[in-house]
Subunit: 288 residues, 2 copies
């Protein structure tokens, strides 16, 4: 799915909701537990129930890998169950030296059929390039995450390059303060791709930082996890993050898929997804 198709889907659905299928076998509604096909059935039905209210699905690979080979098969079948009208994101946080990243790109873009994959930037350009080489696929690079540990390295202040003897690069953070690692990541990775094939992961609990990140990446889509159980505010995220093409994908996982632990779990999920869609529709109108 390319950018124009994604932007069109957002305009038609009036939603920038991404539903996170972090399906944990032990958290399924009681009446499904113990059935061997329970996770796949749950995902199938969850996709059907939420389809009108979202534009993307994000599959967290960890939850499937924890189930072993069977889990990997369920993940593949779940990707196949998502219609091509919706963006299919593998939330995999991969990244390795070039020839290994090429294998990951093949695993997710070819074998798995994903449209997009999340990747970690620590190993630099040659760890990310192999993903960017695929046409009509998306590489979503970790920039600033919403967890407590984001303070450990992502927010470290960097010595300006002139002082460290390297080339000076524009510092959009402005004079008077040093660039932080996540800002450097965005500015550096911006040069490797374009808003047509590159997005960033930006945590929702840092909504006040979103307007700053918007300056660093004015046109890029931002994937914002953490709305819902992780505690971000959709209003804040939308206020600071929306751009002319929407430019946001806001993910909710547990808030939707575990909306009810009972037999009404699909109705409950659809209702929560519809509430997100209604709210997003209003923010889209206000922004345009």
């Amino acid at each position: 799915m390319n950018r124009q198709q994604l932007v069109t889907a957002i305009g038609q659905t009036k939603s920038y909701l991404c539903v996170g299928l972090d399906t944990d076998e032990t958290k399924l509604p009681a009446h499904l537990q113990g059935r061997p096909d329970a996770v796949l059935q749950f995902n199938h039905d969850m996709i059907k129930a939420t389809l009108p209210y979202c534009v993307a699905y994000k599959i967290n690979t960890a939850f499937y890998e924890a189930m072993g080979g069977r889990g990997w098969e369920i993940m593949e079948a779940t990707f196949r169950a998502i219609p091509d009208t919706h963006l299919k994101i593998a939330d995999a946080k991969r990244g390795d030296i070039g020839n290994t990243s090429s294998q990951y790109a093949r695993a997710f873009f070819e074998t798995m059929g994903a449209d997009a994959i999340t990747v970690a930037p620590y190993m630099g350009e040659d760890s990310i390039r192999p993903f960017l080489e695929y046409e009509n696929k998306w590489t979503i690079v970790l920039a600033l995450t919403s967890n407590k540990g984001s303070a450990d390295f992502q927010r470290m202040a960097l010595v300006p390059r002139a002082e460290s003897g390297l080339d000076l690069v524009p510092n959009l953070a402005g004079p008077g303060r040093s660039e932080l690692l996540y800002e450097k990541v965005i500015q550096t990775v911006n040069q490797w791709g374009s808003p047509e094939n590159l997005m960033y992961v930006v945590g929702a609990t840092q909504a006040h930082e979103l307007s700053h990140i918007r300056q660093l990446a004015p046109e890029h889509f931002l994937l914002v996890p953490g709305v819902g159980f992780q505690g971000g505010s959709l209003a804040d995220v939308s206020k600071h993050g929306l751009n002319a093409d929407a430019g946001l994908l806001v993910n909710a996982s547990r808030a939707i898929i575990y909306a009810s632990p009972h037999e009404d779990y699909l109705e409950a999920a659809a209702q929560i997804a519809a509430e997100y869609q209604t709210e997003m529709s209003a923010y889209l109108s206000a922004a345009s």
Copy 2:
């Protein structure tokens, strides 16, 4: 496998060789290609052929994921084929928020039966803690890698914490130069684990930096990929990296498993592995 067992294995084998099973279907010897069980058979035989010369096997998850669900099953079977006398490393470069990292830890330490997993530090403490919580398992954190992209972020100079308004931490890099991100990663992660459950990935092409990294992590095991086709020198790595318990695992993948493209591939692999072992045996004697 705990530290004492690993140290004992190194002493008995007189080797700190790790064999990397980055098995690529398209690179198998011609007579194996096209057989549905070719990769697993290749791995099985490769393990048998190299067992006397190494103390660890490293399985690069990307190469198996590229084959889809079938690949995941082959990876599981390969882990089962490694005897408990040898350290089983999942080279997976995972890392995500806490509840997701817990799922990855379960996937590799429980379902897969690995002794160790490589993880990326970008998301900080709560992304790494879930791996460290497992007893007699190892978390191997990316510190300084050998690829060109290691310059992009890992070697960025950081503003000393006092200047950035945060607590001052000891800077082993010494006065006169700023700490680099990879140094900060080592010093910070050191506080989360111990030499009993924590190792670092350090690229072999930076052998001259190994003695510096040894100062930052005097007792930790270092996993050094990149000897062989990636171009590092085993002599340099050993000179700068060995400590009283050896403290090194030096990986070779393609140099061993693709030593010959013909029917003699097992003899060729065993011979290369034996050459590494002979060389390592000499370095161990010299260091003790």
